[in-house]
Structure formats: structure tokens, C-alpha cells
């Protein structure tokens, strides 16, 4: 199948701003699914609210556009009810880690077999450019006219600590790596987290005078480095990308089958 066969082409061009990284993430995602050769009927995409969440409208899967921050909770219900389905849960940074932070850590803790995709542009775009828990310090936003003092989460460290069994990071500059990582994350049995650094030229870029979309993407090239690289040792400020965690742990739906077996055994 061609990449466009996974899209609901009648809704394109999409509503994202010119140069928005979310379109690149959508591209990487459908290319990953094409590589995996998944059937459209076996995929359920669950999204929350915000710019990122509109991604579910553009893909020809079973799509569930939910409420702010709760995508993983809805996805949990779908997955436990029908474990054979592939769950993909794209979320924005505020969606996943502010209002949805609790669901994020608990989904990771359970190790449900699903893929959480954090489309991190460090800003609330839909509401016009407020800072998020991934903005970090010293960032300008419409609610941080004197720059942020809030420290940001490190999604990778958070996901690792919460128990995710696949944790990776890429960027919209490194599109081939991003596609490859998303494919691996979907294939992974267990809870996978992929953070994609994405650009919001309209709000984050403009407010912080980083330049246009291409300049923001180039920033990702200049400020990231492969995990454990020599460059990282020389410049600890660089953001590492790649696969941080990939391990097999008991998966929730499979463990639940053991509960059913124990319950039925006890009754007979």
C-alpha cells in the first residue's frame, strides 16, 4: 500500500500551520505503518485535544479523538477489551505530560502493549502559544511574558522511571530515524514511548525568535546527538536521540489472562 492509502485524503490539506512539525510526524507514522504492512482495520488511533490530536482525523484507521489529556485512558479501555488491536496514541506535550501526566505514568507502569507518541513542540499551539511542562526554563510564551521559570520534564527519563519498556526520542530533522523508531515502537510488545521533537514555527518559533520552520528543524540537527556519542561527552547540553530502552517485561493483557485462569481455577 502507498503512504497515501493510509490517509483520509479528502481532509487534506490539513489544518496545521505552514511548517508545523506535526505533519512530518504524521508522515513518519504512516510510513512506519506502511513498512510494517499493518492492516488498517487492526489499528486504533486514540488522540486527546490540541493541535497534535487532530492527527487522528487524517488517518484511515479506527480513530478516537477524545478529551484533553485522557487519550491513554481511553486507549487502555480499547486495548484491554480487544488485545489483538494495535493501539497508537499520539499526544501533544501539554496533552501527554500536563493534564495527562497521571495517565501517562500509569499506562507506562502497566506495560500495556501500545505506542504513545509525544509530539513535543514545547508549546500549546491550539490555544495560541502558552508554555507547557516541556517548554523548560527561559522560554517566551503568551503566559510567560517574562520567560518561564518552570523546569521541564525529560520525557525519556520520566517514561523510563514509570516503567515503559520501549523509550526513544527523535526529531523532525531526522525523519528517517523517526520513521524507523516509530516502526520499532509499534512492533514492540509492551508500552512504548516515542518523543518526537517537533517545531511550532507559528508560536514557539516566533515568540522565541528561532526563525522559520527550516531554522527550527536545523536547531534539532545542531542540538541533538546519538545516544552515548562523543559529542555528548564534550557538550552535555546536547539532547540525545535514539532508543534508550528496549526490553521485554510482562505485558498487561497477557498477565490479565493469568488472572482469568486463576479466577476460573478457583471457582471450579
Amino acid at each position: 500500500m502507498a503512504v497515501k492509502d493510509y490517509l483520509r485524503e479528502r481532509f487534506l490539506p490539513h489544518l496545521w500551520c505552514p511548517g508545523c512539525g506535526h505533519g512530518e510526524v504524521l508522515g513518519g507514522l504512516v510510513r512506519a505503518i506502511e513498512q510494517l504492512g499493518l492492516s488498517k482495520n487492526e489499528i486504533v488511533m486514540v488522540s486527546g485535544i490540541g493541535c497534535s490530536s487532530r492527527i487522528s482525523g487524517y488517518v484511515d484507521f479506527h480513530t478516537l479523538h477524545t478529551i484533553h489529556g485522557r487519550a491513554l485512558a481511553f486507549a487502555t479501555g480499547v486495548k484491554i477489551a480487544r488485545p489483538e488491536l494495535k493501539l497508537i496514541v499520539p499526544m501533544g506535550d501539554g496533552d501527554a505530560l500536563a493534564i495527562g501526566g497521571n495517565h501517562f505514568i500509569h499506562a507506562a507502569r502497566r506495560n500495556l502493549d501500545m505506542t504513545a507518541l509525544v509530539m513535543n513542540n514545547r508549546i500549546y499551539g491550539m490555544t495560541g502559544g502558552q508554555f507547557s511542562p516541556l517548554s523548560g526554563e527561559d522560554v517566551s510564551a503568551t503566559t510567560a511574558p517574562y520567560k518561564t521559570i518552570d523546569r521541564g520534564f525529560d520525557v525519556v527519563e520520566l517514561a523510563k522511571a514509570a516503567g515503559a519498556t520501549f523509550v526513544a526520542r527523535s526529531t523532525t530533522f531526522h525523519v528517517q530515524q523517526m520513521t524507523d523508531i516509530i516502526a520499532k515502537a509499534i512492533r514492540h510488545k509492551g508500552f512504548s514511548v516515542v518523543e518526537v521533537l517537533s517545531q511550532c514555527p507559528t508560536y514557539f518559533g516566533r515568540k522565541n525568535k528561532i526563525g522559520d520552520a527550516a531554522d527550527m528543524i536545523t536547531w534539532f540537527k545542531d542540538h541533538t546527538t546519538p545516544i552515548g556519542s562523543k559529542a555528548k561527552q564534550e557538550d552535555p547540553g546536547l539532547i540525545e536521540r535514539g532508543i534508550f530502552v528496549e526490553k521485554q517485561e510482562p505485558e498487561y493483557c497477557e498477565e490479565y489472562e493469568k488472572v482469568v485462569a486463576r479466577a476460573k481455577g478457583r471457582r471450579s
Binding site: 490517509l7 505552514p18 511548517g19 512539525g21 506535526h22 505533519g23 513518519g28 527550516a214 528543524i217
Partner: protein, 68 residues
Amino acid sequence: MAKPKLKQHHINRDWCKGCGICVELCPKKVLALDEQDKVTVVRPQDCICCRLCELRCPDFAIEVETQE
């Protein structure tokens, strides 16, 4: 493996939003924005078919077709 050879760039002008990502990040400066801020191919002979424009286009507006 032989290097892929360009057949054609397919540009979907309806979907292109003129963000310029493909233009600025093309390693061979093959693309440009026209007077309507839509991407256009100005130096096809220099294209190395790396497809980065296609992969980085947020709007699915470019497809690089190569010869078999």
C-alpha cells in the same frame, strides 16, 4: 546498488503551504518557492533523489519519482 535516478518531482500545489522546509533543507538546492509561495523544481539535474524533501514535507505535497 545503483544510485536512483530522478524521473520526476510530483508537486501537489493544493497541499503545499509554502513553509520552505524542503527548499532550505535540500542538500543540492533543487527546489525554490515561486511567486505564489508554492514549491517548484528549479534544478532537477542536481537532484540526488535523497527524498528528504518528500519525507520532511509536513503537507505530503512532494513525491520524488525515480526511474526503475
